[in-house]
């Protein structure tokens, strides 16, 4: 690794690793939140509770 990225390779790997960690966490949280909201909305609709605009159509 040192031959490829020089003597400070550990700092470079840590920087890119941190980017992957943070962006991966944000993507995962956003994905899970979306799935939870869709599930909650589907459960309400299954109980016959719909938005007024959907009831009218």
């Amino acid at each position: 690794m040192a031959a490829l990225l020089g003597e400070h390779w550990g700092f470079i790997v840590a920087a890119y690793g941190f980017v992957v960690l943070i962006l991966g966490t944000v993507i995962a949280i956003t994905w899970i939140d979306g799935a939870q909201q869709k599930r909650a909305l589907a459960e309400l609709e299954a109980r016959g509770i719909r938005r007024r605009s959907e009831q009218a159509s």
């Binding site: 020089g6 920087a15 944000v26 956003t30 979306g34 509770i49 938005r51 605009s53 959907e54």
Partner: protein
């Protein structure tokens, strides 16, 4: 998709203006189209960008290979400042024009802004240790970016603390506009004060002071970050719209059962 099942109202003549997008159903339909496109652009450009960074771009004559940290640090800094500027515009949309999606856009932006600011701070520290000999200095640029991160965190806390959505939106909009004073300080701190952080080398009068062999990978990485940011913001806005629908329907269900 349960959220876009009802057909969006017809688009008024003049295309998809901000007023046309005030309808959440129409916004969700547009987001449904844009999210995969932006995700695809982010993946393709990040792949090309990383190839250029690690296989093509030369090492810096002073920094050596440590310059590779710049290719994620600088785009994260640009997104961090740009996101807050967009939040300030959304705050105006909430307070002045009362656009129904303005505070949704603002609320969805804050966690993303915080994440990119954190990336900027940490990658900067990881660059600073081998190059400056220190992880951190309290100079104007670093301190103002830390303040930006704290502003994002404060706004997230504010939205969590106030249950009433409209009150939370107004309070967050005012705080966002007050905090916007920090953005010019972040940008021009390296010109106004004597800082350890180097002055701008890409966005500056007279053009970039960086060689094209390093500039192109940097710009490609920046556009990849931007595309990912747009995709995540659209997803965040979609989630927030769905959350509000769930809350509204949940309250109606509770009333009907009472």
């Amino acid at each position: 998709m349960t959220d876009t099942r009802s057909a969006p109202p017809p688009v008024p003549s003049g295309g998809l203006s901000l007023i046309a997008l005030a309808n959440p159903t129409r916004f969700l339909a547009l987001a449904q189209t844009l999210i995969p496109i932006m995700t695809g652009i982010a993946v393709v450009l990040a792949t090309i960008g990383l190839y250029l960074v690690f296989a093509v771009a030369p090492e810096d004559y002073q920094q050596g290979q440590t310059v590779k940290i710049m290719y994620v640090h600088v785009p994260a800094a640009w997104i961090a400042m740009g996101a807050y500027t967009l939040m300030a515009l959304s705050a105006l949309g909430t307070l002045v024009w009362k656009h129904p999606l303005a505070d949704v856009a603002q609320k969805a932006m804050a966690p993303l802004g915080a994440a990119f600011t954190l990336i900027c701070l940490v990658t900067g520290a990881l660059w600073g240790r081998p190059m400056w000999g220190t992880w951190w200095v309290w100079d104007a640029r670093l301190t103002s970016v830390l303040v930006l991160f704290l502003m994002y965190c404060g706004l997230i806390a504010l939205w969590s603390a106030i249950e009433d959505q409209s009150r939370a939106a107004r309070a967050a909009a005012i705080l966002t506009l007050v905090g916007f004073l920090n953005i010019p300080i972040v940008k021009f701190s390296v010109d106004w004060w004597n800082t350890l952080h180097q002055p701008a080398s890409v966005v500056k009068i007279g053009g970039p002071a960086i060689h094209p062999s390093m500039l192109w990978p940097l710009l490609i990485m920046a556009v990849a970050f931007l595309a990912l940011f747009i995709a995540l913001h659209l997803l965040g806005m979609r989630n927030e719209i769905l959350r509000r629908r769930v809350q509204t329907l949940g309250m109606r269900a509770a009333r009907e059962n009472a």
